[in-house]
Symmetry: C2
Subunit: 331 residues, 2 copies
């Protein structure tokens, strides 16, 4: 093969499709070896039926691979995959239980397929191309409806003995506290997440306190419509009460990060997810609380707390990249 | 060198001295490559003065190496060592601050010296020779006056970015709760440790409740004399109140282990330290609480909870073994 053709061949081999399956939409992208997204497509998540989700994945890959030569497909979803990346053990938003998704998708897609937890995928992307580059002990925390978590250690996603490590959002930090979707009470994600922010705002509004007036207005007069995203938007517009609610979330965020630092001693935390749209309104109080709650402060180097760099595409980029490098880096 | 002499030489090379520096005593032992303790010696901890502690170490090594040919010395102490194993960053019970202890000890002892955290040393011993053998994701928790913690992952002690990982006892599980020596409130070790057990017993006795009579008697009529060890002894004799107090500790132990499992997903926990003299009176309630508080229970394999096998010599054995293998396994 002449040299130019070989280079071009290698270039094509470098493309992978990353697919991020969320509760409401499935987003897919063609990602190159430098983490750039060359093309994108998306669909609504077709309910929880595994066959319908498979069909959606096939359609997205067909659409994207018409224009790009793609060597592998990485799929990220909330939930637990086995260590081998072949089977979905459990996914909260999808009706997958012990689903050998990879085997059936590899047949349909005629390419190597890797399944990965969405938080692991996002962390990998931030370590490879984003805010966590070069860090030997990276902990990522994604603040969305709940908290997703993942660790990249010595250049590998650390997934634990059975592949379900990184569920930081379910550390109990307030025994007997708010009920969590996982069935426990007092989980961290009930105190620092988009859902927690929305809940606090709704409770405030329902007291009829004058503090809640701007929030109630933003919600069109109905407390039930108030979401974490609306509170964040109001805070960015300058509303003092919304900023206080965000600062509360930041305080709990910092306390949970201090717990993780006690156990894991990372060099850096990268914080991503929708709640981070608040930027320093969240990160500032989080850093203060982290510094106040970190055990051994003053006798140890302190991990940095950085905001994620890749935004909502991190999961897609990471899933694509992991499907490419899985043989050597994702064990 | 004739073959027989070489074999004997290699045999001697396999011996190392492990030294465990505690708050009250310094224990040293000659340990062979199978983790057996061939000889022991001990001294009282000579106050907090670094020079006096060094002198004690030299005396112990001189005494033990008179009878055994020893190739290296491993020293375990509560506190934080740098990643290189050369400098004590901080030790709560000793006045070492940024002390380059290894360099000065290597000169005095004329042998390679490794400094290690005592919990890391004990975990390593349990992984090599004790209850955690063969486990690829091992988490060890040592319940003494506080909680020591360590992880062995893929056959290496995981020490974090700066060498201070594993401080599980300082995860905050009850914000605003009991004051901790670390300056925070609500740390796990204030709810599951020998000190916590003693504090709870003293508080109970001070209420003058009839429930506390056996405890008060055990303490010779003075609540202040009551220790965790005394409560454990009474519980083993059958005292119902002491058993309840131990079960409370076990419940908090299980909750904290569930938090660690959410984050780390280990294959096994090994629980050691003085509080484990209570055996199943502690481990039983801990297992129940772990099963009740583990997020995702029912959808994941559950880590086992085993009692440590090596007893109070684990730190000594682990420090010796780490000094022998440090080049290849302790990074």
């Amino acid at each position: 093969m002449p040299w130019a053709a070989r280079r071009s061949h290698l270039g094509r081999r470098g493309l992978a499709i990353g697919i991020d399956i969320g509760g409401t939409k499935v987003a897919a992208g063609v990602v190159d070896a430098e983490g750039r997204v060359l093309a994108e497509a998306r669909r609504s998540t077709p309910g929880a039926d595994p066959r319908a989700v498979e069909q959606t994945i096939v359609e997205l890959v067909d659409e994207l691979s018409a224009e790009h030569r793609v060597a592998s497909v990485g799929i990220g979803a909330a939930g637990w995959m086995d260590l081998d990346g072949g089977t979905v053990l459990f996914s909260p938003h999808l009706a997958w239980r012990n689903e050998p998704l990879r085997a059936s998708l590899q047949k349909l897609l005629r390419r190597p397929v890797l399944l990965t937890n969405d938080a692991d995928a996002a962390a990998w992307a931030e370590w490879r191309f984003g805010a966590g580059q070069g860090e030997s002990r990276l902990v990522c925390v994604t603040l969305g409806t709940g908290i997703g978590g993942a660790m990249v250690m010595d250049g590998r996603v650390e997934r634990g003995r059975y592949g379900v490590a990184g569920e930081f959002g379910h550390q109990i930090i307030f025994p007997g506290g708010h009920r969590c979707e996982c069935g426990n009470r007092g989980c961290w994600e009930q105190y620092a997440s988009g859902n927690a922010l929305g809940r606090e705002a709704r409770q405030l509004v329902r007291t009829n306190s004058p503090e809640g007036r701007a929030l109630l207005e933003k919600a069109g007069g109905t407390a039930e419509n108030l979401t974490g995203a609306a509170v964040t938007a109001l805070a960015l517009e300058g509303d003092a009460t919304s900023r206080e609610l965000l600062a509360d979330q930041g305080e709990w965020l910092g306390l949970g990060l201090a717990n993780l630092a006690a156990a894991l001693d990372p060099g850096m935390f990268v914080i991503g997810g929708g709640l981070c749209d608040a930027g320093e309104l969240l990160a500032g109080p989080a850093r203060e609380s982290f510094a106040k709650n970190l055990t051994g402060r003053g006798f140890r180097p302190m991990a940095g707390i950085a905001l994620a760099a890749l935004g909502p595409r991190a999961g897609m980029i990471g899933a694509a990249d992991l499907s490419r490098v899985s043989g050597r880096a994702h064990s």
